[in-house]
Amino acid sequence: MKVVLRNPVREVDIPGPRPAYLVLADLGLAREAHLVIRNGTLVPSDARLEDDDRVEIRPVISGG
């Protein structure tokens, strides 16, 4: 599946199916600091992400 990461925007390819929390772990990203958006909709960390899903992992930590 295509996974879009932010700040800076970039894209990585991860083989599915795979639960969101493992995709986060694969990428070394903390669950508490990110939201997972599948095909435009927010999903919980145990949602299974499929190969044809469009996934965005959005960081939520602000520095200001």
Partner: protein
Amino acid sequence: MSATDRPRGGHQPSRCRVCKEPAVIDLPRHNANFCADHFLELCRRQVTKAIERFGMLAPGERVLVAVSGGKDSLALWDLLTDLGVEADGLYVGLGIGDYSDTSGEHARRFARERGLVLTEIDLRDEYGYDVPTAAVATGRVPCSACGLSKRHLFDRAARDGGYPVVATGHNLDDEAAVLYGNTLRWDVEMLARQLPVLPARAGFPRKVKPLVRLTERETAAWCLVRGIDYLVEECPMSVGNKHLGYKEALNRLEAESPGAKAAFYLGFLDRMAPLLADRAAQAVDGLERCLRCGAPTTSEICAFCRLVERTAGHGPVPVELALARGRR
């Protein structure tokens, strides 16, 4: 669960704690998952609880919301409006390159689409400087000139516009990170003042932080569920910010024991802050009027007017230069 229970088009095992519909978010600190509606309900409840517990707002009070175009300030504005509070926004143009241009667009679009009142003040147009220039002119980190400018302008706008209260989007992670920093240094004066409400005093409006019971993951999720198009990019000046490190440290702790952040910060408010109340009360006396602008101040000329003076005649400094200086 049988195969037929599963939502079509995807295997989604977790269900809302309240209604058992498919969940959109897992909240380990509540040891539960929630659907969109019940997640929003939870957020409303947390904000209402903060407002009531700390006496943030009196019924019918008009609120001025500090709006940046990011997730917290837009979630705050949306939540207050949703809860029936009359809330207008103020956006300060900080002149931080593309970041400021884009953040302003997000703030304006949000207000326009909801028919809300947004006032704008541009530092460069109205005071002849911007944050990168102020950082270089004063030799201090950008966030220091930025914070000073925003505080001053929000106070003044509240005074001029007859708003008794200014609300900011500080969330649980922000407050826990500041608390962590203050505790590591045992900065008792700062600890004494680290409250979600600062009462009004001579010429200053009350300052409230209604989002202190929501984490940043929750404020961002509020925006996603409500269809709020906030600015995801961060202010370039925040790179290397000490608070980011504190937040990461606390999130590692949170991953080990969910709820640790809330226990740390909310426990401080419940059990430690009352012990420091005397200290908090001391620092308020002895204010004069600034000779230039009339703002309450401890010196003849307020810190904001001194900043305007120091930056006067300084050519605009690009963001990259201010950043490079800050890193040295």
